[in-house]
Amino acid sequence: MYEPVIGLEIHLAMKTKSKMFCACPADSFGQEANSSTCPVCLGLPGSLPTINYEAIEKALMFSLALNCQVPDITQFHRKNYYYPDSPYNYQISQFDKPVGEHGFIDLSNGRKIGITRCHVENDAGRSVHPAYANYSLVDLNRAGAPLIEMVTEPDLRDPEDAREFLQKVRAIAQALGVSDANPEEGKMRADVNVSVRLPGEPFGTKVEVKNLNSFKSVQRSLEHEIKRQSRILEDGGSIKQATLGWDEGGQKTYLMRTKEEAADYRYFPEPDLPPMQIGQNWLEAIKAKTPELPDLKLARYLAAGIREYDAQILAFDHQLASFLDEVLKHYSEDAQAVANWLNGDITGYLNAEAKPLQTTSLSPEALAKLLKLIDTNTISGKIAKDILPELMQGADPEKLIAERGLSQVTDSSEIEALIESVLAENPELVERVKANPKAINALLGQVMKASKGKANPEIVRSALSKKLAI
């Protein structure tokens, strides 16, 4: 049985106001073509780049969060290659002194995934190739936007590990505010390197799969590629080094190009940008303002009594974690109950509507109020679930309950009356329950239905047992 050896190369669009080396807006998603450009990012002769302080600080914070060693001096290099949507004819990147090296991330199965390096560079523009035309169109709005590139060691051993790793990277980037790390908007892009070997043997020939724009495509392309390579080797063939693309529709890899000879990038230190001395004081200042990392959130949630399974999901989902933290400020009685709602009905609602949490109008205060209303027996859990969709659209649970008269009926005379009428209407069922007390739930259901879900089920149950003497 062949064992896969997987490494990842991840690009994250940094969340800064301006571009990496000029003052144009960094995020011009959806803007008119070439409307966020200036002489620097257009690569006009005589223009000079300047380093965005915030971008360097964010990259350093991210490197530290990935347990990287940060050098005393970091600098930029020119990486020379010609590409139509890169107007400089080179990319400003890092080579010998990146912002971070030798880091790691721990996976939940205890495997330690090494991070070779993290470096800062600028993004390219965007090309459009109209169908049947003999020309291409170039938009340089994205040219010069700040990127972090991180490269892992070939430490990953299965596609599921790769997915978890990406999820952790995203959670860290989002928690730190370094990047929105949203693959759908191209804010997080991954290339994978994968080879297979028999356990204990040296690494096999690897192929690269480029431009995967969702975690699912990473996982699927890896699964596909591992199968493909294993089959070739089993049949006595050999793997050719190649760069592949991923065909989302056909769920298979396709050949982009066979690897040319080792890239000839002719790196040299960027003469227009002075090196950066980092120093202990700066690093301490960055550490002091680093927000809580997902691993620490996980520990905090476990300590608050949230079960491991739920805590893992919440700690590594930045939106859910931020929301949970806000709810806990207003309602700390039962953290697990909050987790149940977030991972259960709320996630269910979001999946059904295909919406992220922050685009809904659910407020953490409203969820806290809802939980208190359940705790005080003001409403039943059933009613709470029923009104959730309205809460997701911004309704206030207390108002909603008052307006609709949804308060739970706990008054015993009212419940008594409900029971009387249900018993009178269902003589056969009454006989069945008397013969077999375990069937009481059928009657309980009838009473609950008669109360439109508002009766307190515990009170109904005990009143019913008493009434039927069972």
Partner: protein
């Protein structure tokens, strides 16, 4: 000395299509430049550290603030050809892509 093989490699790297007679001519020019570098190579640089930048500055940063980009008319005026604000360039991928 730059060989014919080196010329082919350079053409690939530079993404340039160059006619054979022109290639020949360019090779001669490049070799003259290489001769000049050869002369420099003979200088005694023992004990002199490589200098990447002419002045020894460090930590020169820009605050993360947006300054208005160029007006679209100015950007369009830079292009030989444009379409809806995009720069129009020769096809950069195979038509089948």
């Amino acid at each position: 000395m730059i060989s014919d093989k080196d010329m082919e490699h350079l053409k690939t790297l530079a993404r340039l299509e160059i006619a054979p007679e022109e290639t020949h001519h360019l090779k001669d020019d490049l070799n003259k430049i290489m001769d000049y570098f050869e002369q420099i190579r003979h200088l005694d640089t023992e004990g002199i550290e490589e200098l990447a930048r002419p002045v020894s500055l460090h930590n020169i940063f820009r605050e993360d603030k947006i300054v208005s980009p160029l007006a679209p008319e100015l950007v369009k005026a830079l292009a030989n050809e444009e379409e809806n604000g995009f720069f129009k360039v020769p096809r950069t991928v195979d038509s089948s892509d």
